[in-house]
Amino acid sequence: MAQVTAPKQPITVTAPKRSITRQMRNEWTAYAMQLPGLLLFAVFTVYAVGAAAYLSFTNYDPVARSGDFVGWANYRAVLHDGTWWAAMGHTLYFTLGTMIPSMVIGLGLASLLNSKIRGLSFYRTAFYLPAITPLVIATLLWKWLYNGDYGLINYYLLRLHIIDTPIQFLADARWAMPAVILMQIWLSIGFNMVVYLAGLQAIPAELYEAAEVDGATAWQRMRRITIPMLWPTTIFLLVFQTILGMQTFDQIFVMTSGGPPGPGGATTTVTYYIYLNAFQYLKMGKASALAWTLFLVVFALSLIQFRWYVKQVER
């Protein structure tokens, strides 16, 4: 572009003007290309965020399609809502309980697969299979596996004499959440493994060769090379899994409906509780206040993770 306009400039006086009109025309096509996407963004994100802020200060009733301004009442209600903070705890329990084991096992499997092993694609496919199962279908399947009367898990536990009577995993307040977590670990290991495998393959082999020359042990190589080099990958997975964990809904809806004993019970997550308030109890104002509270928590968590990341990189 510069090559075309440059020789013209000294010849004609109108050159700068032309370049401005050309630039404007160029810009016009850029805006035209942005338009459809921007329109959707304006409606479903920008306007929606404003509406969510407004709704959180009203007692909007979706059936009457009207609501009054109530000030901070919804937020005060949220602060004193024990079920909400319990749901926060359940979500944290679920997120950490899933994230830590699935990342550790994922890293372990990835490093085993990264050594010169044959049948890499077979193992990778096997471990990744749960991750490509539609979530609702995986959950229905596990609901069957957990069943107290004919489920496979109770059958094997009984046969191995680990338990004497079947455990009603999903109807027992102590077992329901661990049961959902176990399924989720099974689901998410594959993704973590593939991401870690990519991270491992990106580490230059020279680093390991140099360490070997220096006589570093396997553990030292792991601690001094692998883990530091994988920090960006690890942070990516942490952030990703935290976001996913905060949105946990399908598993809960299908497997336990938030119980036992029922909605609001031992497996009620934040998203499930927001869903209950908005679409079952029809308190859309309060549900919006809940969502903003969640935003603050997620924002704080992201900040902590980010600062931690910066610290690790600086070291």
Binding site: M1, E27, T29, A30, M33, Q34, G37, L38, L40, F41, F44, V46, A48, A52, L55, R65, L109, L112, L113, K116, I117, F122, R124, A126, F127, L129, P130, I132, T133, P134, V136, I137, L140, L141, W144, Y150, Y155, G190, V195, A198, G199, Y208, E212, A218, P232, F236, Q247, F249, D250, F253, V270, T271, Y275, A278, A287, S288, A291, L294, F295, S302
Partner: protein, 315 residues
């Protein structure tokens, strides 16, 4: 770790270019440590795949056998009646599969088109407001989807002149309970835009300048140069979008009301909650519902793994 040590041991003999030397070296590599690795990986793989095998097995058992105790891994009375019953039952399951396919393919195609346009302008065009818009889009990545959930529901309900609504958006259900409502809010995807943009930035400007000199307009540059050169990133976005949308549950749950419009995950989940005696159909439906993603994975395995490492490194 012992494999690494073993690898260094055999290195000297491996240098000798005699084929017969290679064989003992390879056999030597299968030391107890390596063998343990294979056993461990295989055991893990079996554990990961077993629930699927069981699901497929169950889908070929009559309802009575499914509930029998002990459970059977090999069907006692193999039957395909669950599959035929699936399409003849009074639940329009064939229609659900069509709905899922139609909605997820539509979203994937529209996302690729609109988001790549946005990504291209963000990556290769210079226009006032570009950096601000890009930053705004990135900032929404931090926003939990729960915040915009309720407003978007209300926006869809208030779309004027649709679903019995008047010009002001009152009186009917708007885009709720329609394909529009399932598709429109899902077209914009900041993560896809970001991923594509990061990829397109790497395309050398020389290609674009050369095309400009040849008289190509921006639309042509986008379509003939940028799109073909971004294929790996586009493939990754397409695969992830399709995978994500095929299993979408929350959106369809709150948007849809009529059973004819259910997507497969929604249909299966509500099916299960309403009727306890249709587990044979659910298992058959689950196998059918899991197949598309497994097929997509096997066809695009390379792009899949590439895409994940792309997301991991860019994200």
């Amino acid at each position: 770790m012992s494999t690494v040590a073993g690898g260094t041991e055999v290195k000297p003999s491996g240098v000798v270019p005699v084929p017969t030397v290679g064989k003992p070296a390879r056999r030597r590599r299968l030391r107890p440590g390596t063998l343990a690795t294979y056993i461990f990986l295989t055991a893990f793989a079996i554990l990961f795949v077993a629930p699927f095998v069981y699901m497929v097995t169950l889908s070929f058992q009559p309802l009575g056998d499914m509930f029998s105790y002990p459970p059977h891994w090999i069907p006692l009375h193999p039957t395909v009646s669950n599959y035929s019953g699936f399409f003849t039952s009074d639940h329009p399951i064939g229609r659900w599969i069509f709905n899922s396919a139609f909605v997820s393919i539509s979203i994937t195609v529209l996302q690729l088109f609109f988001n790549s346009l946005l990504a291209y302008t963000f990556a290769k065009r210079k226009f006032p407001g570009r950096d601000f818009l890009f930053f705004l889009g990135l900032a929404t990545l931090m926003l939990p989807s729960q915040v915009t959930l309720i407003p978007n529901y209300l926006i869809l309900r208030g779309i004027p002149l649709f679903g019995g609504n008047n010009l002001a958006g009152f009186g009917g259900h708007g885009w709720l309970d329609s394909y529009w409502g399932l598709i429109a809010p899902n077209i914009g995807n900041p993560f896809a835009i970001f991923l594509l943009r990061q990829y397109m930035v790497q395309i050398p400007d020389e290609f674009i300048d050369a095309a400009r000199v040849d008289g190509a307009n921006h639309w042509r540059i986008y379509w003939k140069i940028v799109i073909p050169m971004s294929k790996p990133a586009l493939a990754a976005v397409a695969i992830f979008t399709f995978q994500f949308q095929w299993q979408a549950f929350f959106g369809p749950l709150i948007i849809l009301a009529s059973r004819q419009l259910y997507t497969l995950p929604l249909g299966l989940a509500l099916f299960e909650q309403g009727h306890r005696s249709v587990w044979n159909l659910i298992m058959a439906g689950s196998v059918v519902g899991a197949l598309p993603l497994i097929i997509v994975f096997f066809i695009f395995q390379k792009q899949f793994v590439q895409g994940i490492s792309l997301a991991g490194s860019k994200g």
